[in-house]
């Protein structure tokens, strides 16, 4: 990973479009094609939506975009925590649908909780990348 951009925004649903715009701009710079950029916009949205929830959370959502060698990695950290955990899906099918989307669109994804807060991440290789 040779280049890196960080974005910090309040953990509010109305601001997630900024995370999508940012990944689209970075993926374009990193030579991902149009379809892959659309895939990444949706994948980032899925990662962040789970962290932010329908009502938003206190604190900041900190995104780190790293790219190089034909791959893009994004880490989303919700600092300030999520009192009561990250549950709170509005519709019963959302969680399963989100997992299917991420499984299909990126090479790897995951989430964990650490001292600093809840974190979700993904990694996608560019089509045709050799490494």
């Amino acid at each position: 990973m040779s280049e890196e951009v960080e974005l910090s925004l309040p953990a509010k649903p109305e601001l997630l479009s900024l995370a999508r715009l940012t990944v689209a701009a970075i993926a374009s710079r990193a030579d991902f094609d149009y379809e892959e950029i659309e895939d990444l916009r949706l994948a980032i949205d899925e990662l962040c939506s789970h962290l932010v929830g329908h009502q938003g959370r206190p604190g900041q959502l900190r995104l780190r975009y790293q790219w190089g060698d034909g791959a893009l990695e994004v880490s989303c950290l919700l600092d300030g925590g999520a009192p009561g955990g990250l549950s709170g899906r509005a519709e019963p099918d959302e969680g399963e649908l989100s997992d299917r989307i991420l499984d299909a669109l990126v090479d790897e994804h995951g989430h964990d909780s650490e001292d600093a807060g809840h974190r979700a991440w993904l990694r996608k290789r560019r089509r045709g990348a050799t490494h």
């Binding site: 109305e14 997630l16 479009s17 939506s49 509005a90 519709e91 099918d93 959302e94």
Partner: protein, 111 residues
């Protein structure tokens, strides 16, 4: 870009045309609009996604819940989809086998 809605009747069938992006922020408004249509007493609704440029799992969750509600009432929720990216999301989530999907409003209303 956020989202906008327009409801018109075509041959007696309400058509909810959605434009913009459906995400965790805008999906609650889609849910409200579907409830408005259901409460108006109709059994079937067509949701036109032709002008939708983005939909995520929260938007799909609202559509699935709407589908269940309309089918339980003896009707259906039909989709109009022309954007390849929207069709792709429906395909990878397996929802193309759940929804009846048409490429024009006229085709959906005729069913």
């Amino acid at each position: 870009m956020e989202v906008s809605f327009d409801v018109e009747e075509h041959d007696g069938v309400p058509v909810l045309a959605v434009a913009g992006e459906i995400d965790v922020y805008t999906a609650p408004r889609l849910r409200e609009r579907l409830l408005d249509v259901a409460h108006a007493g109709t059994s079937t609704v067509v949701v036109d996604l032709t002008e939708v440029s983005f939909v995520d799992s929260t938007g799909l969750g609202v559509l699935v819940s709407g589908l269940k509600r309309f089918r339980e009432a003896g009707g259906d929720l039909l989709l109009v989809v022309t954007q390849p990216q929207i069709m792709k999301v429906l395909e990878i989530t397996g929802l193309t086998t759940v929804f009846s999907i048409y490429d024009t409003v006229a085709a959906a209303v005729a069913k």
